[in-house]
Amino acid sequence: MRPFIVLLQKELIKIRRDSFLPKLILSFPILIMLISPMLATMDVRNVNVAVVDLDHSTTSNRIISHIKASEYLSLVGATSEFDLAMQRLEEGKVDVIVQIPDHFERDMGVSTPEKISIIANAVNATKGTMGTQYVIQTIAHALVEFRNEKNPNQMSELVTVQNRFNPTLNYRHYMIPALMIIIFVLVCGFLPALSIVEEKEIGTIEQMNVSPVSRFGFTLSKLIPYWAIGIFVLIAAMMIAHLVYGLVPAGSFWVILLGTVLFILTISGFSLTAANFSNTMQQIMFVLFFFIMIFILMSGLLTPIDSMPDWAQTFTLLLPPRYFVDILRSVYLKGTTLSELWQNFVALGSFAVLFNILAAVTYKKQA
């Protein structure tokens, strides 16, 4: 036991005395949690709308003022020249064009009027679709209101919508758990591996190889500091989420803690396994970068897994973060319980066991 404690001490001192690591470990998670929820929003807002008004009626004016008042849309201009609006759209100054046909108001009273055309710049597919939907809702709303004024009781909303778990539709609340996971992946993924490969490249690992320390002891001494850092990150992140963004987990803290511990074990184990196969720091960074990019972009952190093609959805079953994303988001936002998430926990636990065994087995005490 004694050599192990000394080894652990050595790791801690090494991290503390480094000129860069302590600053990085402290400031990186805190800065990300403070700033990035403001940046990572796919909320579609500020959709620039140009109205081509060929009708020039009370109705079309009503539509224009509703667009102007919408919190999602901003009116760039109303014109009667379609070409001008189209030009603005090509320049990227306008996202959606609404064209109200001639005699729209007159026809609406008697028969089915010519359709309102909505033309969207779909280079950004999300903005294109969501922008169009917002425009349709806004106009529909304007028309319902207008009709109700003329003959009340004519129309009312036919569908009521109840938004559960995030009633204010706050995109930040959806992203905060994801950002926490990104920090875990970066800190517990990159750092332990680098510290081992650094010893390899500088040559100090030779001393380890001839020392009486077992390979499990050596591996563990590399991992424990980063487990502790992981838990620190969790607590700091949860506090920032609460104090700055007002997000408190709807479910149990202990379920979150259990998930986090399993996830940190998985990622650091994975990181060490990769380190055992690399000889230079540059190599290990590239290898880890490759997997970490896949973890971040394909685990449903930033874009939904349901949107991926089927083969990619099957592929994500092999990615450990996928299960943790599910756990953290459901517990945080929906208050899901441990028993409802048991499959995710079993998967994550199996990955944790697998990678840590691999890490210990693939570490060879030979040059």
Partner: protein
Amino acid sequence: MRNSFLSFIKKESLHILRDKVTMLIVMLIPVVLIVLFGFAISTEVNNVNVAVVAPERTDGVVDAVNRIAHNDYFTFCGYIDPDQIDQELRSGKVSAVIVFASDFDRRMEQILTGLPSKPIIQLVVDASNVNTAGASTAYLQEILLGTASQQAMFETRMLFNPQMKSAYNFVPGIMGLIVILVCAMMTSVSIVREKEVGTMEVLLVSPIRPSKIIFSKMIPYFVISCVVLIIILLLSYYLLHVPMSGGVWGIFSLSLLYVLLSLSLGLMVSIVAKTQVMALLISAMVMMVPMLLLSGMLFPIENAPMVFQIFSNIVPARWYVEAIRKMMIQGSPFVAVWKEFTILLGMTVVFLGVSLIKFNDKLE
């Protein structure tokens, strides 16, 4: 002098070429990632699981449910009891529940004949994912109400990307993210490794000028990056079917400039950093975050608070992604992106300049 410069380049190239594993990794990583993400990542709302609560399964209800089951966006997961709604949503088995009124058929008839009616459908949606919730609510209303609603009054057209393929949108963004990080990681160890291993002293006493040491470090990586870039562009065109209607040469030259910029950025990090660990962590981990969040690849920059919108101006990926999107997807010619090109060029000059000055400082 010229000769010694060439032999320096040769020395650096041999360094890289002899480390076959690293070279293979460096060439494979960007290519695999871009193709993988190009195919897999999408933000369109798809495969939304829907359950239905219907007190009476009348013809109208069954008909509406069939329409949903046959829609590509939704997967129908069966009928449930009203008291199961909460549990089904919380466990994530379904993302939306449609609750039909008990006299749905009768009320629907009323509406079609123009009579007023109370709400006939309630949608209970898992709004934890805001965009999925918003889009599925809109689609569901459209499908359920059909002609009874206002939806029939609109005609919509999607320009430039009519099939709403997200790959179009993501390939430029992913290129902007991966190219800069991989290139910066390549050069970020170059100088600091010599310092750490101790061979820097040897370089410094050699008769070659400092600026040439720096360029000889960059040139082999530049050649590798060009090969990678060509592979990426070919794959984007033939495999991912990105249109590239703005002209291949324009896209290629802009990307070359971006590669140069990224290599210079890595070099600058390498000169400033004290250890290899620090250099690598800065170029991979620390830079990944602004490149991911402030390049506009996934998250629109105009959503960010003003301070960060201003800050995003110094994120090179932002300008590259913007320009390459214009050329690849909107089909703008090269002249349309002169502004972005100039800014990227300016940044490259600054990075190289800072590297040279700092490197000279260290020598004295």
